[in-house]
């Protein structure tokens, strides 16, 4: 008998049952190979064993087995398990030494009762309840994180917190100069699209010049801030989550904690402050470029002169509109930084979790941006700003 190798002449594995009194002999034969298309279903044999009442022992004879691999081991292992559950003796004496030693190895450590088997049988209400509790836990964790962040700022202002200033300047650079091309491109296209939509409608009433008002106010109050926030959520928020998540996986966060350096002071606060400070500048840049995109449509499609378009833009927009946009964008910056850092800090200890942290950071940040924008708009309306 030899171990199975890829051979062209494979004989179908077979099992013959020979019963003598309360003893059953299983005579195994053929080629037992995982790669063979001709395989023996262990269920068939086990069903046959169920039809043999009063058994006291089962002997397996492998003299006729031509070659074998794990498929034979699985079969014998299942027969042995069946014997255990039916109080029937499984006689290993007739098995070759190499097979019996592997079977002994497989059964030497008893099965661990981990309780995982019952996981799939939970009711719908149980799963719904678990999901709701999970969401509540997540919200509480977010609130806790915001609290920790506030405490961290207090420590830093009191000069008791250790800050990674190199990281702060690097983050400033990443959130400002390095973000200009993508923010510029998206803002330009947003201004262009707004102007197109406005132009088609306003041209019908001979009010094409008001495209400048539409683009200016929309960009200054809403779109500049929202588009910048969404871009930074996808670009910087995801990066924060992945960077901190990777540090969590490689125990760098633990290393900071053991040195009594707060990861909040060292890693989170510099990122939050950097994004909070840079977002207003990015927002102003976005508004300016968006107006430029609108001007391209105004001058190109509506044949308005550039000076006329600029004068109309300046006349339509007040300082309040710009301040509203800038304040919103700063808030969005804090949301992006906090969600990115929080997801990174809560990252589990494996590679897949880093990807999940980045994804959830982006989703949460975008949801937070849109939701907070709605709340701010309602407040502005209520306060008549």
């Amino acid at each position: 008998m030899k171990q199975a190798t890829a051979t062209p002449d494979i004989e179908r594995p077979a099992v013959k049952m020979e019963r003598t009194g309360d003893q059953l002999k299983l005579v195994l034969g053929g080629d037992w190979s995982l790669k063979s298309p001709e395989r023996l279903r262990s269920e068939t044999v086990l069903a046959g064993l169920e039809r043999e009442p009063g058994l006291r022992s089962i002997h397996c004879v492998t003299n006729e087995v031509k070659s074998w691999d794990s498929s034979l081991l699985v079969f014998l292992w299942e027969v042995e398990e069946w014997c255990k559950s039916h109080q029937v003796k499984f006689a290993e004496d007739d098995l070759p030494k190499e097979i019996s030693s592997l079977l002994n190895l497989a059964t030497s450590v008893p099965e661990q009762q981990t309780g995982r088997g019952s996981r799939g049988r939970r009711s719908l209400f149980y799963r719904l309840g678990s999901w709701v509790l999970g969401q509540i836990d997540m919200m509480l964790a977010a609130v806790e994180f915001i609290g920790e962040c506030v405490l961290s700022f207090r420590r830093i202002l009191a000069r008791r917190g250790k800050v990674d200033w190199r990281l702060y300047w690097l983050t400033l650079q990443e959130c400002s100069a390095e973000a200009l091309p993508i923010v510029g491109l998206i803002s330009f296209l947003t201004g262009l699209i707004l102007a197109f939509v406005g132009a088609i409608q306003l041209r019908q009433f001979g009010a094409g010049i008001y495209v400048a008002n539409l683009v200016a106010v929309a960009m200054a109050r809403e779109m500049g801030a929202i588009m910048t926030g969404i871009i930074m959520a996808g670009r910087t928020g995801a990066a924060f989550a992945a960077q901190i998540g990777s540090m969590k996986v490689s125990e760098e966060i633990d290393a900071l904690s053991t040195l009594a350096i707060s990861p909040m002071d060292f890693l989170v606060s510099p990122r939050v402050v950097a994004l909070f400070l840079m977002m207003p500048l990015l927002c102003l840049y976005s508004v300016l470029i968006g107006i430029g995109g609108g001007a391209v449509v105004g001058t190109g499609l509506l044949k308005i002169s550039l000076v006329q378009y600029w004068n109309q833009t300046v006349g339509s927009m007040g300082l309040t509109d710009i301040v509203i946009g800038v304040v919103k964008c700063s808030i969005f910056g804090v949301i992006v930084a906090l969600t990115g850092c929080q997801r990174g800090m809560k990252c589990e200890n494996n590679a897949a979790a880093v990807g999940n942290a980045a994804t959830s950071a982006v989703v949460l940040a975008i949801t937070g941006i849109v939701a907070s924008d709605a709340v701010i708009d309602v407040l502005i309306e209520v306060l008549k700003i």
Partner: protein
């Protein structure tokens, strides 16, 4: 200058040469490099079927790199690696993949796929290369986990088990396709002495039961003496393989550097001619 490595106490080497049977593994004149930086050159050794071959040497000498060359993770530019007498280097992509399917590799940290449960980790190669049903794959995964003492952990993710368990689960995955050659990269690293000894016993038991050829990269002396049938020593200083042989013989009769290594740095008396040879080697490297 090409250094000649010697074979000491290796019972299989004599049998192989007289019977003219191709060894299971053969490495010929292999040179390992990172870009233009040569890590090791003129590596020559063989491993017979059913043998446990240990690759030993100090930290950073290129043991794991050699393993990567052997399993095809790094492209061989100088020299050859042969399995059953057939060149692995000159083989076509399809032939290489065919040979690679006979390998099982246990990486240093287990390298389990974190998004899959242990059963799914073991099931992936079976799904890919066999026509087994999902139920059969699950049963096989359970058997393989039982062999490494992890029955009951089928539905656990790698992040939910300890480092030692991850290593054992990695071994179960390496055994999924009943490999002809098992490669282990630092199997004892990060394990306590008892777990390390159990893993050594498991390696030997699998070798004895399945007739698998085993290649182990390690610098753990107890493991080397417990499992190795034959071992090679890589020397970072001369950038050459110094010797192949049974470690129990090498510790008494091997080159001074190998004896020092196997005696945990204890000074050994160096004959004058060996000192001269060492000086020549260093000069040749310059």
């Amino acid at each position: 200058m090409r250094s000649e490595s010697t074979a000491l106490g290796d019972s299989n080497s004599g049998i192989l040469s007289s019977a003219k049977v191709s060894p299971e593994i053969e490495v010929r004149d292999l040179e390992m490099s990172y870009g233009s930086y040569v890590v090791m050159r003129d590596i020559n050794f063989t491993g017979a079927k059913g043998q446990v071959l240990v690759i030993m040497g100090g930290s950073g000498c290129g043991k794991s790199t050699l393993l990567k060359y052997m399993i095809g993770l790094k492209e061989v530019t100088h020299g050859d690696v042969l399995y059953k007498g057939e060149s692995f280097v000159k083989a076509s992509q399809e032939e290489r993949e065919e040979v690679q399917r006979t390998f099982g590799v246990l990486y240093q940290a287990g390298a389990l796929w974190s998004s899959r449960t242990l059963a799914e980790n073991i099931g992936l190669p079976l799904e890919e290369y066999t026509k087994l049903s999902a139920k059969e794959i699950r049963e096989l995964a359970s058997l393989k986990l039982s062999l490494v003492g992890l029955k009951g952990f089928e539905d656990f993710y790698p992040s939910e088990i300890s480092g030692g368990m991850r290593k054992r689960a990695g071994l179960a995955r390496a055994m999924a396709l009943d490999p002809e050659i098992l490669f282990f990269d630092e199997p004892s690293a990060g394990l306590d002495p008892i777990s390390s000894r159990r893993l050594d016993e498991l390696i030997l038991q699998l070798r004895d039961s399945l007739g698998t050829t085993v290649v182990v990269v390690t610098h753990e002396l107890p493991s080397i003496f417990a499992i190795a049938d034959t071992a090679i020593f890589l020397d970072a200083e001369t950038k050459r393989m110094l010797v192949q042989g049974d470690p129990k013989v090498l510790v008494k009769e091997g080159p001074p550097k190998v004896r020092t290594f196997l005696l945990r740095g204890q000074e050994v008396s160096v004959p004058a001619d060996a000192k001269q040879l060492s000086a020549e080697n260093r000069q040749a490297n310059r």
